[in-house]
């Protein structure tokens, strides 16, 4: 799994590339925690290049989502598809996560 950060205005987009599994999902948590220390306030997690996620990956998403919510900062998860979507659906968390279909929608949602 690779994590890349890019910036769009005040919004930080984290592009996840690869498989989010029990061996590497902690890295997304660590990255977000580091970004929070650096006072980043608006996050987009882009899962376009993720075709595999397991409970550790879902756990990492839950963790960053609840941490960011608690701090009253903003997060959108975007481009969920394929088996990633199915796993989130099985866990019934589609409504729990702030989700948009595309990056453009995510940016618009953060601007609301």
């Amino acid at each position: 799994m690779e994590l890349k950060i890019r910036k769009s205005g005040e919004n930080y987009i984290i592009d996840v590339n690869g498989e989010m599994d029990l061996y590497n999902s902690y890295r997304l948590k660590e990255l977000v925690m580091k970004m929070l220390e650096k006072k980043v306030e608006r996050f987009i997690v882009n899962l376009e290049q993720v075709d595999y996620i397991d409970s550790s990956g879902i756990g990492a998403l839950i963790y960053i989502c609840s941490t960011i919510k608690k701090m009253n900062l903003r997060l959108v998860i975007t481009n969920i598809h394929g088996s990633v979507k199915k796993v989130i659906e099985l866990t019934k968390l589609m409504g729990y996560f702030p989700i948009t279909p595309t990056i453009e929608d995510a940016l618009a949602k953060l601007e609301e």
């Binding site: 397991d54 409970s55 609840s66 796993v87 409504g95």
Partner: protein
């Protein structure tokens, strides 16, 4: 077809030593040491014998990997001396597995069912504020890398039953692949 785990409208993990799902006849068999590093490798060895149409782009693999991870990590506590035994059988219509470890058994089963009931009631009320208390189940062997959500999905996925034996160190599961609700 009724879901074996449906109890009063809520899915529950059940214990039933005599469930027909524990019938190992005709199933393929593999054994692995409880090596945490090799969980995904072992999973691939098993799932590669499934017909392509039921792999559903990684979903079957992911669900099997969760059960094997539970056996390795929570059952055998990643002790490589202890084995995980898997019996499996796939067809275009079904996936049937039995995963057994040499651990103490799933002690928190009742606790998990109670937790899941609360979680389900939050979901029914669409109360996402309270749901945040019930997104991740923790047991004595959980650590930061455990999502604590694998079994929620497992009960939904294994719609033909997800059933433990009396000692609770062996779990049998069945997934049916009926004609889809949508499409041709």
């Amino acid at each position: 077809m009724k879901n074996e785990n449906l109890v009063e409208g809520v899915l529950e993990i059940r214990v039933d030593e005599n469930s027909p799902l524990f019938d190992r006849a005709g199933m393929l068999h593999k054994e692995f040491p409880s090596d945490f590093r090799q969980i995904r490798y072992f999973t691939l060895l098993i799932v590669q014998s499934a017909p392509p149409e039921i792999k559903e782009i990684n979903l079957l693999e992911q669900q099997i990997s969760e059960v094997i991870k539970n056996a390795v990590k929570h059952g055998n506590r990643s002790n490589p001396e202890k084995k995980v035994m898997v019996w499996y059988e796939f067809s275009p219509e079904h996936a049937h597995l039995i995963v057994e470890d040499e651990g103490q058994g799933f002690k928190d089963l009742e606790k998990w069912n109670a937790f899941n009931r609360n979680r389900q009631s939050c979901l029914d009320k669409q109360d996402y504020e309270s749901l945040s208390e019930y997104v991740s189940f923790r047991s004595a062997t959980s650590d930061d890398n455990d999502g604590g959500n694998a079994l929620f999905a497992a009960l939904e996925y294994w719609d033909g039953g997800f059933i433990f034996n009396q000692k609770r160190n062996s779990v049998a599961m069945l997934k049916r692949f009926p004609k889809r609700r949508h499409g041709a």
